[in-house]
């Protein structure tokens, strides 16, 4: 017997759970300004999530998936992407979307039942909208990466998914293609240990999710998903590869979902309080805060100011969100095709009539 092939999966971590450096940082990441910006962004995202969940609890928002405890992953993706790259999200990616220039009120509108929430601006103009059918977005990302190749553009696509999503064919088919065609693409898995109520161990017997890259012939990396430095490091590496036609990368970011799956879920039905409190010991915001305090880059005054300013920002977005009028009823017809087929004109007229009756209470 000889070994036909041999593989290893690296794991990256630079900050201990308590925020102590375990290793010297890569030179590119010895950037105090970036650390502070990263921290501020995570706090903003947490403030945002808390507020949107509160809106849902008071009947002003639809079902919402918080990213509590996983803020570092999306932030790292947002901080490392180039503005003309394309981001193809799943549904727990508010941290990245905000960094891509999607206004807070747009994210609220999407979950608040308004299609206009996906009319992105800023760097996100070509980014895909929030994707609900699990893992389907990964194939779209592969298609966008193919378009970059066809047109010889030096751009990259980053797509994200959860640990549950890695069981789907779309995930495997896309990685397989990314390897075969050497697509400029990065797939980031937010392994938050749960797919609603199903544990990571019940998804796959594979020791790591990162090793699924091996079967596709691409690089697979595992990283501490609550460690901003490690995340930035592996993302910079993967994006540099993608921008230089050096092929795709799969990144498994290990984190923990500190919230319910969505506001419609009750996680106490399936996981213990003990497990949850363990999760809190590793969470990313406290970790980076400890690090910044240790480096004397942050103090309590700044913390107070930050919290106040995040609340203010979120509050003004809430005001925009709650003041926007709904679209007219016929909007459901107006973006179905470039031009409305004649066959639908009658139905469109009907809904206008129906809406006016409804307004009059008829």
């Amino acid at each position: 017997m000889k070994i036909a092939a041999d593989f290893t999966i690296p794991y990256y971590q630079y900050l201990s759970d308590e925020g102590k450096p375990l290793d010297s940082f890569p030179e590119q990441l010895c950037n105090t300004d970036l650390w502070v910006r990263f921290y501020k962004h995570m706090v903003l995202v947490r403030t945002f999530d808390q507020k949107v969940v509160a809106l849902q609890r008071t009947g002003q928002m639809g079902t919402y998936p918080s990213s509590l405890g996983q803020e570092a992953i999306g932030s790292a993706v947002g901080f490392s992407m180039a503005s003309d790259d394309v981001f193809v999200p799943y549904y727990r990616d508010q941290a990245t979307q905000l960094l891509r220039g999607v206004p807070m009120e747009d994210i609220m509108r999407y979950w608040g039942g308004d299609e206009r929430g996906s009319v992105f601006t800023g760097d996100a103009k070509e980014d895909f909208p929030t994707c609900v059918p699990i893992a389907t977005q990964i194939t779209h990302a592969a298609g966008i990466a193919t378009a970059f190749k066809v047109r010889r553009q030096r751009r990259a696509v980053v797509t994200t998914c959860g640990d549950g999503a890695t069981s789907r064919g779309d995930f495997s088919e896309s990685l397989n293609l990314a390897g075969t065609w050497q697509l400029p693409m990065v797939v980031v898995v937010n392994n938050n240990q749960w797919a609603i109520s199903v544990r990571r161990e019940e998804q796959t017997a594979a020791e790591t999710i990162a090793q699924k890259a091996i079967s596709a012939g691409i690089e697979g990396i595992q990283v501490d998903g609550n460690d901003p430095i490690a995340l930035l490091h592996v993302l910079n590496h993967a994006l540099e590869k993608a921008h230089n036609a050096k092929g795709p990368t799969l990144i498994e970011a290990i984190s923990y979902r500190l919230c319910d799956h969505t506001t419609a879920d009750d996680a106490t039905r399936y996981r213990s309080a003990e497990e949850l409190s363990k999760g809190w010991e590793r969470e990313p915001i406290k970790r980076l805060q400890n690090f910044l305090y240790g480096k004397k880059l942050w103090d309590e005054d700044q913390e107070k100011q930050l919290i106040a300013s995040c609340k203010e920002q979120v509050q003004s977005a809430v005001e925009v969100y709650t003041s926007i009028e709904s679209e007219p009823a016929e909007a459901m017809f107006d973006y179905l095709y470039a031009d409305l087929p004649q066959a639908l004109e009658e139905q469109r007229a009907d809904v206008i009539h129906k809406a006016s009756n409804m307004r009059r209470g008829a």
Binding site: V88, E115, R116, S118, V119, F120, K125, E126, F128, P129, P133, T136, I138, T139, H140, A141, A142, G143, I144, A145, T146, A147, F148, K149, V150, R151, G169, D170, E173, S174, N176, L177, T180, M332, Y335, L336, Y337, A338, P341, Q342, A343, L344, E345, E346
Partner: protein
Amino acid sequence: MTQFQATPEPHKNPISGEQPEIETTKATLVEAINLALAHSMQHDENVVVLGEDVGTNGGVFRATVDLKSEFGLRRVMDTPLAETLIAGITIGMASQGLKPVCEIQFMGFIYSTVEHIVSHAARMRNRTRGRLTCPMVLRAPYGGGIHAPEHHSESTEAMFAHIPGLQVVVPSSPARAYGLLISAIQSPDPVIFLEPKRIYRSVKQNIVNNGEGLPLETCFTLKQGDDITLISWGAMIQETLEAATKLEEQNIHADVIDVASIKPLDMTTILASVERTGRCVIIHEAAKTCGVGAEISAQIAEKGLLSLLAPIARVAGYDTIMPYYRNEDYYMPSTQQIMEAALKTMAFQ
């Protein structure tokens, strides 16, 4: 809107959509597909072709033959064997402004694309309020009658016709295949383009390879008559025309309508014809229940009931699994069945 306005005339020959005989190439339906693809790729560098075996092999039916050697690897892509993926990457490419034409080798393997077609392609414009769109074509050979293995003979166009945001197109002659595919590729919205493989090579026709498209929202009137309206699409147009010719021997003159655009449906043309004839038979290969024929008859009942002189008749496939090929002819609607239905409709007082 007047319900019974005249048929919007398709280009060229106002009746059939077929072209006058100048500077033409003789082509079968599958060759016409190839010509339309090549012409589109020649004149628009955004057009790319992808699918299983579409490259070097030129497709299992040869619809994409020579495209790879002419346009290269970047624009003619042999994909891995993964239909979900093919649909998904097609959507991604389309969002970037490419005009991808993907091939699903047989309609029997289209089902794993359905999630992408329904949940993404059909909705992309709507869910981004027009920011991202999906100008893609998904081509697939479909239908029975070629003694193919299991899963290679079904007609499930009604599944797609049910989905808001899609267009579903079925050509029934080489010239219409050419013109409709040209338009499908240039359409700003997704088109499911179903090719009746039974007639891929059955007739040759003159094609003007000038890149002119045919409208996607209209029926084509293939034959005019005032006594009865025969409505069909795809390969069944052959039997329908044959029946119409036989009916002429009995001095019954049929309007023969090729629906061509299954979605959106051009009911204006159909209703105008039924208004004139008062009698109609709808013919399709797909299973009868919830077939597109059901939709057409419902709309005739809604808007043209008072012009009917006889009940609407449907000649369709049975509500059974398509038999394997030894018995497939029992399943396929026949000229004889169409004749019988037409004569019964004519006899109704």
